[in-house]
Amino acid sequence: MQDMVNIFLYGKKYEIPAGLTIMGAMEYAGYQLVRGCGCRNGFCGACATIYRIKGDRELKVCLACQTTVENDMYIATLPFFPLVKELYDMNEIGPTEQIMMQLYPEIYSCIGCNACTKSCTQDLNVMQYIAYAQRGEYESCAEESFDCVMCGVCSSRCPAGISHPQVALLSRRLTGKYLAPEAAHLTARVREIENGDFAELLERIMQKPLEELRELYNHRDIEE
């Protein structure tokens, strides 16, 4: 006999085998998911979920695909949250202190309640990365926010109306494009390819008969 637990999906009670994820439990209950289900592996942020264990005062958040059901779990999903996404042309903007003020000024209304950090499904220090963004320290914001799946739970809990994932994304793009040092070898290689430097070498390999290709492949030198 399988161990079963009682859970409440949107308030309705279902008996579910212990050990299933919340997503698995919903499917066990008979839901054919369309919303609130994406990669099923914790990368896409589609399945943000809010729950409370009966009798517990604390409201918890998680990704439904990454969280095992518990007995007396009251579950509501948050398949969409209206984040503010400002439009910008990456070639026109730069990593200036003013850019956040222009695009996402609400970050300066942060009251330091830390609800964002407490609610992060990825355990990121969200309030800290917003603080970095306020100060124009985009590399630090980018690093601190790197694992963000943009599920939007932080924003749903924010009294200042901040769209944290979008602030983080802008910081990362500014970092990747403007602040990270240029890869000189990459620039050089692209130029060589544009010059056609490798075309002949490739053409020669492509013309070789299969047997010779096999020989080359099987005896190629492999970097340590």
Binding site: G19, V34, C39, F43, T67, L87, G176, A180, A183, L216
Partner: protein, 530 residues
């Protein structure tokens, strides 16, 4: 959490760990690999395949589950559709919202086209988002596109279409540069040098990564760029059939709102199928590392419209899927774990192979270890072998796991497994569709103005793809499909829209003796308990 047997086996793994550090494991000879694949790789298991009775690949074998969908009835068969009053009218219609679709849309937009994306879930809900390990590009001093070409060709069993492969390797560095300029944060040293590692089957360290969120980082940026350009995205809307015009050119698609069931018509001068893979068809009962929407829809749509499949009988089973715990069964353990030095170890603590053989060879070797050799570790869902993650910090120093593979650390920590302390159990998982629709170097199929990009394409990777060549191909061929479709749309004159090809396909299937009550494309797997 671990069973007593697992605990006992971990002790054996720990006992041999130090002696394995720096050990030089032999790579298999070409002949050994061939024998191994023939006996243990799922692609060689005859029962898993069926011969197509109808369509452009009549007589060819494909996975049984795919054959059923390719030859099933159309979802538009009984619909009363008015094709003369389209709901959308664009130059370029991109079907699919993953990395290749987004890249294609960005380039079509850049070329001045009126482009629209339709996707059955959200923009970014795709295998791209889940690609962990990295993207290959021959941009280091000791490397060249020719070296990359040979690695991919040998790894692909010499079946890659040479012209497509040439394009992949030649445009690799340019693709990485393009992503960097969009703001993708690649792992770099203080002087800007890309931090690159090996992948299975590479002869040079050319794997570029963004920690172990490589695909997610790329997808987040591409998605943001699509939004910044205000390219229309019609989400939660699936393409359920292509529309050709009376001249036989691709000219749009029948769409269906996934939530309301409403049908809509999109008219376009060129169409790009960027619908991704098929892991959710669970070939041969394997679990999958794929996205929820990976159901081969594009192959079905393209096949009915007359596009040919290439290598649809070759699938990639990623050697290291999660074998335990059950909650994440089948999820991907990035190949980067092996790139960083973790070895594959059996129940007795023996490293049974070189950790960086190609994916097909590695998967077959793990199956052999569990099956014929009887040295797997029993799990509630089958068997697994150890991937000795603690080796990584012995080799690269404390903190290396958190720095280089934070996603893996997090995934397991949710189940109280600290991969810095204990090894993890892995078994092959259905990961990638090596084959797909055949294209020319412009990305076009045999159907005029029908382009394909991304995992739905067959031929670039031959019969086995190397790690890091998929993130590369979605960018290279996605961009190129976008540019070429934009160009084609400028010259296209769309005649009357029609679905005659769907009726013709159904008639031919019936004449060939196909009997099916099923409808395709599948759109989503059905996991709801009946």
């Amino acid at each position: 959490m671990f069973t007593p047997e697992m605990h006992a086996s971990i002790k054996k793994v720990e006992a041999t760990r130090q002696s394995r550090i720096g050990a030089d494991l032999r790579r298999m000879t070409a002949q050994e690999k061939e024998e191994l694949l023939g006996r243990y790789h799922p692609d060689y298991k005859k029962e898993g395949f069926a011969v197509l009775k109808t369509g452009p690949n009549k007589g060819d074998k494909v996975p049984t589950e795919l054959a059923e969908l390719l030859q099933a009835g159309s979802r538009v068969a009984d619909l009363d559709l008015d094709l003369s009053a389209p709901d959308y009218n664009v130059d370029v219609l991109v079907i699919g919202g993953g990395g290749s679709g987004a890249s294609a849309a960005i380039e079509a937009h850049e070329a001045g086209s009126d482009v629209m994306i339709v996707t059955k879930l959200r923009l970014g809900d795709a295998n791209t988002m889940m690609a962990e390990g990295g993207i290959q590009a021959a941009d280091k001093e000791n490397d060249s596109p020719a070296t990359h070409y040979l690695d991919a060709l040998g790894g692909g069993h010499y079946a890659n279409k040479p012209e497509l492969l040439r394009r992949l390797v030649t445009e690799g560095p340019g693709a990485v540069k393009w992503l960097g300029e969009l703001g993708v944060m690649f792992d770099k040293g203080a002087d800007g040098t890309m931090i690159t590692t090996h992948g299975g089957g590479t002869s040079r360290k050319r794997m570029h990564a963004a920690k172990d969120y490589s695909g997610a980082e790329i997808m987040r940026v591409l998605r943001d760029e699509v939004y910044n350009r205000e390219i229309p995205v019609v989400d939660f809307t699936a393409a359920i059939e292509l529309i050709l015009d009376t001249g036989g050119n691709a000219a749009g698609a029948v769409l269906m709102n996934m939530e309301t069931g409403e049908h809509l018509i999109a008219r376009a001068k060129a169409v790009i199928l960027a619908t991704g893979g098929a892991g959710r068809l669970h070939y041969q009962g394997f679990p999958t590392s794929n996205h929820y929407g990976a159901t081969a829809d594009g192959l079905v749509l393209g096949y009915r419209a007359g596009a040919k499949l290439l290598y649809a009988d070759t699938l990639q089973y990623h050697p290291t899927g999660v074998a335990f715990p059950m909650q994440i069964f089948g999820a991907l353990v990035t190949e980067k774990v092996r790139s960083l030095g973790a070895m594959l170890v059996n129940a007795d603590g023996e490293a049974f192979m070189h950790p960086l053989e190609t994916r097909d060879v590695s998967a077959a070797a793990i199956i052999r270890e569990c099956d014929a050799n009887g040295k797997g570790i029993a799990t509630p869902q089958g068997f697994g072998v150890w991937l000795d993650t603690p080796m990584i910090e012995i080799i690269h120093g404390e903190g290396a796991i958190e720095k280089r593979i934070p996603g893996m650390l997090r995934m397991y920590s949710k189940y109280d497994i600290d991969i810095r302390e204990v090894p993890i159990l892995v078994y092959p998982t259905l990961h990638y569709q090596n084959g797909g629709l055949e294209i020319d170097t412009a990305g076009q199929t045999a159907v005029p103005n029908l382009f394909v990009a991304g995992e739905a394409v067959g031929g670039i990777h031959g019969r086995n793809r190397l790690m890091g060549n998929s993130l590369l191909d979605i960018i290279v061929f996605g961009r190129s499909a976008g540019k070429n479709a934009a160009k084609a749309s400028q010259d296209a004159t769309v005649r009357e829209l029609a679905l005659a090809h769907v009726e013709r396909f159904a008639a031919e299937a019936a004449a060939a003796g196909v009997r099916s009550d099923a409808r395709s494309p599948l759109l989503l797997p059905n996991y709801a308990r009946k």
